[in-house]
Amino acid sequence: MLANDHIDLTVEPGEIHALLGENGAGKSTLMNVLYGLVQPDQGEIVIDGRRVECHAPQDAIEAGIGMVHQHFMLVPVFTVTENVMLGAEQTHGGPVAALDRRRARERVVEVSREYGLAMDPDAIVEDLPVGVQQRIEIVKVLTREVDLLILDEPTAVLTPQEIDDLLAVMRALQAAGKSIVFITHKLREVKAIADRITVIRGGRVVATTGPETSEDELAAMMVGRSVSLAVDKQPAQLGEPVLEVAGLAVDDERGHRAVDRVDLTVHAGEVLGIAGVQGNGQTELVEAIMGLRPVVAGTVSLRGRSLAGRRTKQILHSRVGYVPEDRSVDGLVKEFTVAENLVLNMYDTEPFGTRFMLHRDAITKSAADRVARFDVRTSSPQAPAATLSGGNQQKVIVARELTRPLTLFVAAQPTRGLDVGSIEFIHRQIIHERDVGTAVLLVSSELEEVLALADRVAVMYRGRIHAVVPPDTPREEVGLLMAGGSTSGEPA
């Protein structure tokens, strides 16, 4: 597939250049070409007037290009120093190449001081919060004396406060004469920091412009039409409590308490949004509700009936719909067809099958209907789910969960990594589900999404519900709550 089509991009020395585009627009492909991870079919890369060929990351590093990847490239069981030195190890020389950890450590300390990136060089990476891990990635790049840093979606996993810190670091790097390519789809950040902005869409450069361009204009360029990010909805008609969670405690894989004494109630006809930075217990909370993770303490009940000890299938069959946060791992069987994926929750229930048999005709017919109704772009309902784009895969999941009567709909990160068109569609479906009287529990690390959809916003921080606020609370205030702060108003 053609991911980049005749793209021209020029980055000046000491410039922060934002590369703005939707998910799937080709931003990351472009940067992987620059970094030598992907080979271009044609075109060239010129640095300081010199043509360079990047066949491997090593070539890019030697050419002075460093990259901070969206998914951190750190070895979790290594120390900070080991991660920074890897690939460019300080050694005592000779054929043995014994590591000179003292010198490597000094280098980490030196660089982290120079740019104000505080870290403990001896800490084990997996024990550190993501904000610090990102700083390690930056230090790792800086120790290689690069002139151009590529930051790929660096703010996706950060709290609003950590984002501010990152922007400050970027300014410090700029002051030190480094050029930065800042890949993102978040307009706010682009406006805050970029000297120039290149917008790409469908693999082509749409425009290169300055920060004076308004957010609406940028959004329109990005998507190719004017978009309203606001969701059109009426006030909620609250019904009976549907999902009641009391004193819930859940552990993560490593046995650490991930959800700690959480109380929640979701009523029929409302969207309860859970805001919070990824990794604050949202995943474990949802999995515990769905019977996918053992409950350590507390109760979960659906319409007054406890869900304790019920298997996930029984929970799904008690009219609960579930969109898991990782669609490719938990949401779909990618090798199965779209039609088969559409009945994963109902395959042994009439009309799709019995305990022993599948009714292929009914499955095929229903799949054709639902593919049309949910606008799933696929060559055929019999195509493997893996052949669909992310947005269309998500539509398959949503279609599967929402085409049966529900009392509770649990949607975890329902629009992560999707294009604006798919996001709008899924948002409309969620609000529609609410309007027919379903209780909706929405978990998202995109604060905008929670504020746009939710009727009440619960902020999760370190396993606790830190505060519950109305959706018209100012963004900054919710951001502060997400970082564990408190507001003057409501008690936590």
Partner: protein, 422 residues
Amino acid sequence: MTAAVHTPTSEPVRFWSRERKVGLAVTVAGVLAAFGFGALAGDQPASFTLADNTSGAAVSINGLLGAVLFGLLGAAAGAGLWLPGARRWFGALLAAGIVAVVGSFLCWQLSDSALNIMPLGQVAQGSMRFALPLIFGGLAGVLGERSGVINIAIEGQFISGAFAAAMVATLLASVWAGILAAAVGGLVIAALLAVLAIRYLVDQIVVGVVLIVFALGLTGFLFEQLMRQDPSRYNQPARVPTWEVGLLSDIPLLGPVLFRTNIFVYLALALVAAVHFGLFHTRWGLRTRAVGEHPTAADTVGVRVLGMRYRNVLVGGVLAGIGGATFTLEATTNFSKGMTAGLGFIALAAMIFGRWSPVGVLLAALFFGFCRALAIYLGTIGSPIPSQFLNMLPYLATIAAVAGLAGRVRAPAADGKPYVKG
């Protein structure tokens, strides 16, 4: 700015920590030993000598007294694990507990036998002899898995090493040529594994098993065709010589085990030290471990992932091949069909029990070797316990270790996963 509210992030303190769980198990074992072995103890005194025969000076203890005393010592070691700060002494206390329980067991066995003098030197030498191939095989496993390739074909590398060693050592009348040939034999199997697993992304377990069957079949065929026809020409290698290291070889108990022994033992110990240093203190080791934990991360900083994996698997093959040579140049002096008898798998068990570390492999291999030597010794004194039970012991211990009893056992994160760019 409003002051941030921070809840402490410290791990929840668990009552049933690893120390306490293991401590309880050891205490229970100690008490059971004290009562059980004590009650069963016969009327002979239990005698121990450091020598490798029963003629030397021996220490004697009343069987009942010994069984109870050692059992209580074991229980005390287990109880020690409940003390605050036991975390630091975990290994030592666990080892003390196990040794004490074994001591209690031996007091019972000896007191019940007419041959009531136990030559510890003999058992120690036996332990090392049985441990020897496991050390080589386990190190091969460590090299492969630390870089992310499961080398289940160690058994195949053993058998081809054993065959090549016997054949070449006989033909060229040189054990050194035999050892070299064994290394090549292991290398060939490892190269097949590496190409199929790394280049062609075939499932590593399946490839490994196929290679074992292939190696067993091929060596069996060649054995029938050549060795059985004319053993004196093809299958009569000499034994490797024994070397003494000056005065050190006169140290009681340890001297004969470590300093009056053959080239394989010296080589194995040197390799454990070398692999340990290499893995944790050199550039090669850092890169190997990075490739085994997070190959993409290694790739993005310019480490050649596939190159590292090839290199490690091939070096592992050389080590396992030399391990195979111990079967035909040390343990026996001829090759026979299927003589490695599954020890390649046991080497992998030693690797897991040793938590993917070279020193761990050494200790695990010695423990496995000790169990086997003890089983054989008990057979010679007419113990009522079927030797199969003692032979089972290492594997029960491995299962317990894998189940987490002896602490967190965590394989390298990318172990067994082929790496594909992009």
